[in-house]
């Protein structure tokens, strides 16, 4: 067994191996996703629960008490994967293994067009009937007349600050976006780490530089887009942290690393619950600074490869049932989609179940039934080249993502 030179046959073996790799490459068996057309399979009935449900959701959307209420009522054990950005949600749904997702507008169109989600038969979701009319048949949940999801609730992104460190109390986004004002809090500003934040800069410019002619902050031509990007590049040196994990932002604020930033109600209430001196734009303003704000209107969608479709339909009906929707809305701090959730006794019972103080005026404060309010809130949507007014020179999502990399440097 002395080491001998193995000679020519070894060479052949290597060539064969190399050839195999080349073959793999050449046949181009690569990342071809599922069919590029939309999925059209729609359930016709809901059977018995499968015993398990895997969800992708925003932080605070799937929690107790309504989660355990659901599990007791249906026997479907819920496993939730919390995602911090729409990109993560799309990634997870494509990876597979999940039954449903709480998709915002900058994910829903992508999921639908890639065939990752199936149409929803709203006839099988009785609670859908009493959902607020201005949430139904919207471009982010209905595509070519087909419903692809059940509305969950909506809200506006929040401007939050530490009362002790930020004075006077800001009423405008300029505390973060005006370079001079932002420099006062250099290194302590917290910004959402996603390309969609460029829309926030566009909302700001819509009010402060009207000659740019920005109308929809997600449909920006090159000039408008470059202006928004430049604003964010000026903001970058002042930013303390770009956050995508809600809990990471909570720890940053409570540790004193950040004092002002854009956030969701979930973090705001969590910090207040811990006794942190946080404040945000008041209820009287609808929690929205004077320029308006970006926001979201979320939709529960069912995966086209759902392994537990019955449990998913049961979930979709449950989460928009009056009590559950009232619970999640008050827990998170957003406007419920279910009109019956705004019934004062339902709101009070839900608050009690969560250990929150009763607030029968909750829906009024959050403008749940006030469509005109939501005109100031620009729900997340996917930027497309199609500007919607006949032009097709708007920047698309790839441009946004590339610009975001540019902005962060």
């Amino acid at each position: 067994m002395r080491g001998q030179t193995a000679g020519r046959p070894m060479r052949t073996a290597w060539l064969i191996a190399a050839g195999l790799v080349a073959m793999l490459f050449a046949t181009g068996c690569g990342s071809s996703s599922s069919s590029s057309s939309r999925n059209t399979d729609m359930a016709q009935s809901v059977g018995k629960g499968e015993g398990e449900l895997n969800l992708v959701a925003w932080a605070g959307y799937v929690a107790n008490p309504w989660k355990s209420d659901f599990e007791k009522a249906t026997g479907c054990q819920v496993n939730v994967k919390v995602a911090g950005t729409s990109d993560q949600m799309v990634q997870l749904m494509r990876q597979g293994g999940y039954d449903g997702v709480s998709a915002s507008g900058n994910a829903s169109a992508r999921l639908v067009d890639a065939g990752d989600v199936s149409p929803v038969n709203v006839g099988l979701v009785p609670n859908y009937q009493s959902i607020y009319p201005d949430l139904k048949d919207q471009p982010y949940n209905t595509f070519d007349g087909t419903h692809y999801g059940i509305p969950h609730g909506r809200g506006a992104n929040l401007l939050m600050w530490n009362k002790n460190d930020v004075k006077p109390a800001p009423t405008s986004w300029d505390v973060m976006l005006d370079p001079k004002k932002a420099a006062a809090y250099k290194g302590k500003i917290s910004v959402y780490d996603d390309a969609i934040y460029i829309a926030d800069a566009a909302v700001y410019l819509k009010a402060h530089q009207p000659d740019l002619g920005i109308d929809n902050p997600y449909e920006l031509n090159k000039t408008q887009f470059d202006a928004a990007v430049n604003l964010l590049k000026e903001q970058q040196p002042n930013v303390g942290e770009y956050w995508s994990d809600a809990l990471k932002q909570i720890s940053a604020f409570s540790g004193g690393d950040d004092v002002v930033g854009t956030t969701w109600q979930y973090q705001y209430f969590a910090l207040k619950g811990k006794g942190q001196p946080m404040a945000s734009s008041p209820a009287s303003q609808g929690f929205v600074p004077k320029e308006g704000a970006t926001g979201w209107s979320d939709t529960w969608m069912i995966s086209s490869q759902a392994a537990h479709p019955n449990c998913m339909y049961k979930w979709m009906n449950f989460i928009v049932s009056p009590k559950a929707n009232a619970e999640v809305a008050q827990y998170f701090g957003e406007a419920p989609a279910q009109s019956k959730a705004c019934d004062p006794s339902t709101l009070t019972a839900a608050a009690k179940a969560e250990g929150l103080p009763a607030n029968p005026k909750f829906c009024d404060q959050y403008h749940a039934a006030d469509p005109s309010f939501w005109k100031r809130v620009y729900y997340w949507q996917t930027p497309l080249a199609d500007c919607g007014n006949g032009n097709t020179d708007c920047m698309d999502y790839n441009d946004w993502v590339n610009a975001w990399t540019d902005i962060k440097g």
Partner: protein
């Protein structure tokens, strides 16, 4: 004894023996048999997967759905070249990787030397255990501990407070610091093994020939230990090049891994194209390291 053996019947040719006969004298068959498993795994499985990923670098993507269409295009590389931010990020990653490597080499050498050449047997055993232990506390826990240490209310600012200095806080310095910390054991171990292999007789001979300890260090120890240092550097460099979690937890800076992970969902071709950079860098690094003899010291 030989006579009795000559009369004894030959042993039955069992399956094992027959197989052994087949392999005997045919080294190429032996090698093929031994290597077919690992090679299939690594070449077809791993390299094949890499090929699949890198093939995507030449494709284009729909902006809406992120669907990859297999139409050949060099646009992704064009984006990487045209937009200076990608160069900045790539260079930043390589620079920090280099700094971390140098830092770890400087920190690891004294301790490895002490363990190999100065410490008594028992102390050496204790120190090996002491150096290996941090490898068993989780990467994430260690990074998070550093995150709390570096925060405004953390231990570093608390300790430096009386001196009226502020700690580095979050940022590129923090990334360098934390990564130097994380990969240090990976540098200590190969250097320790390499130094151990230097026979003490060589060092005594050097002394006998009149060299000062410093000269012995410079002209005997260092050259002999250098391949081991390079071996350790493979880990510190590679692990820094690929990490995106540490930069995300203790800074705002973007590393190559950050960009790749941000683009994976909606623009896989761009992510793949950018992934070419660390792959090329590491392949070159490995080739140089192999030439310097590092592979024998891993």
């Amino acid at each position: 004894m030989e006579a009795a053996d000559a009369l004894a019947p030959a042993p039955k040719r069992s399956v094992g023996r027959r197989l052994a006969d087949l392999f005997h004298g045919r080294p190429w068959l032996q090698v093929t048999g031994l290597l077919s498993g690992p090679l299939a795994w690594l070449v077809i499985g791993y390299l094949g997967s890499l090929a699949v990923l890198l093939a995507a670098a030449f494709w284009s993507v729909s902006a809406l759905t992120g669907e990859v269409s297999q139409t050949f295009s060099l646009d992704n590389f064009k984006t990487l070249i045209d937009d200076p931010v990608y160069r900045t990020i790539a260079w930043r990653t390589v620079r920090i990787a280099g700094l971390v490597t140098i830092t770890d080499a400087l920190l690891a050498f004294p301790i490895a030397f002490y363990m190999a050449k100065v410490a008594s047997r028992r102390v050496r055993a204790a120190m090996v255990v002491a150096v290996l232990m941090p490898l068993w506390s989780f990467y994430l826990v260690k990074v998070y501990a550093w995150r709390t240490m570096l925060s405004t209310d953390g231990i570093i600012n608390w300790a430096l407070g009386p001196l009226h200095i502020h700690g580095p806080g979050y940022g590129t310095t923090a990334v360098w610091l934390v990564m130097s910390y994380l990969w240090l054991p990976y540098m200590i171990l190969p250097i320790f093994a390499g130094l151990e292999r230097i026979p003490n007789s060589l060092l005594s001979a050097s002394e006998d020939l009149g060299a000062s300890p410093f000269t012995t260090f410079r002209r005997v120890i260092l050259p002999l230990a250098f391949p081991a240092v390079v071996a350790g550097s493979i880990f510190t460099f590679a692990l820094t090049m690929g990490d995106y979690i540490t930069p995300q937890l203790v800074s705002n800076t973007q590393f190559i891994g950050t960009v790749v992970s941000n683009n994976i969902t909606n623009n896989l071709p761009l992510a793949s194209a950018f992934a070419v950079v660390p792959i090329v860098v590491m392949v070159i690094y490995l080739l140089i390291a192999r030439r310097l003899g590092a592979f024998e010291h891993l």
